[in-house]
Symmetry: C2
Subunit: 243 residues, 2 copies
């Protein structure tokens, strides 16, 4: 009887040990899940950016093909420290396979330089932009096109006003920032950096929609002078080509 | 001996039951965590929006103080179905305590109407905007101010170009969309709807930074005529007041 009682107590201890093990496993699973969430990139860059030298960053990417980004020494008078622009550039230069860029206005030479580096590195770059803004003075779109990068643009009454990029179909950069020096150095702007499969999928689908909508086979070339978007206030006379 | 053996077997069973319970608890914890992640709002609205009637949505919010949003019957000729604008409005009208709005251009009457409804409902509304764009024809900023909503604006050389809103310090709406009828009905735009404490915190901090930077006690009123931003291409002559 005493022996049975002792075994009964032993059974209770075993039960408690099992339960404790279960709680530990549960805590471990929770910790792993939390860690998995934490390592996902969730960052926001707020502009204006301090004006810093990013030539070292670009030179390093140029030299080693982007295998490891490191700041090469530079002798110019600008501060050689991290800034919002350098962080944006570093994210862009991390691309290894693909870059989908959907940008309203693009005139920043440093960002253009980064895109050209990616193209030379063999990254598949595709650009969607706004027809009106790609023609303004300082636009980098012509430079990208000359380098062989595929660019498609709207032919609509409204603006192609997105400002997002998708890196390696994994990382989304999106926000209010047009890629212009004015916006980077003077405006209050934001760029969210999001590593989230759901958001990436939704923006990628939007990119592919635009890529098809703006297929050059659908472009219409006019002989007569068009009414510019800015002066067209009558919805009844809007240009509508692709829809 | 046989009795002890039986109790030993009993102990093993108890151990296995404990272990099984542990595994079940672990699975439950994982399921709960996954579910918690899933119920978080992660949505993107892509514009242009179909033109639909949103009067029912606004009328319902007006009548019941936003306790439950339902579509009231409306006899106008527009389609009475969900659209990107109606989804944006429904998110806005879900505010119960606070709304921080940081918007470059605001001329959409329906969105303005929603903000006024929130103000009447007792939601604390604060607006930050761009000085140049709040003065253009059709801007809703004056209407909001007349209703007693606190509005602050920049006095900088660059634009206050953000387009985000924070609802109840819980939900973030951000993207490329200015709150104008042109952008909503004609442009290619995006609005991300994000329920993520980290992003909300970062954008709220940016809002509070701007709210302090644009405190009216820091405004400077000039007697001589200012050079408008649009024609000021020389960085050396930029207006810099707050920094």
């Amino acid at each position: 009887m005493c022996e049975a009682l002792a075994m009964g107590r032993g059974g209770a201890w075993v039960f408690m040990a099992g339960a404790a093990l279960g709680v530990c496993l549960e805590a471990l699973a929770e910790w792993l899940l939390r860690r998995r969430r934490e390592v996902r990139v969730r960052e926001v860059l707020f502009f204006p950016s301090r004006v810093t030298c990013v030539e070292g960053l670009l030179a390093a990417a140029r030299e080693d093909g982007g295998k490891g980004l490191r700041l090469a020494p530079c002798l110019c008078s600008l501060p050689h420290e991290e800034s919002e622009l350098s962080r944006l550039l570093a994210r862009l230069l991390s691309a290894r396979r693909s870059l989908e860029l959907c940008i309203f206005a693009f005139s920043c030479p440093q960002l253009s330089c980064a895109i050209l580096l990616l193209q030379r590195r063999g990254v598949r770059v595709r650009v969607v932009t706004d027809a009106d803004y790609m023609a303004v003075k300082g636009s980098q779109i012509g430079i990208l096109r000359k380098a062989g990068i595929q660019v498609r643009h709207d032919q609509e009454s409204g603006y192609m006003h997105h400002k997002f990029a998708i890196i390696d179909k994994r990382l989304l950069l999106t926000g209010s920032l047009n890629w212009t020096t004015q916006a980077i150095q003077h405006n209050r702007e934001n760029v969210m950096i999001v590593e989230d499969a759901k958001y990436v999928k939704l923006f990628l689908e939007e990119f592919e929609r635009l890529w098809e909508d703006y297929n050059p086979v659908n472009y219409i070339f006019f002989k007569e002078k068009e009414v510019p978007k800015e002066t067209n206030n009558n919805p009844g006379t809007e240009r509508k080509f692709n829809k």
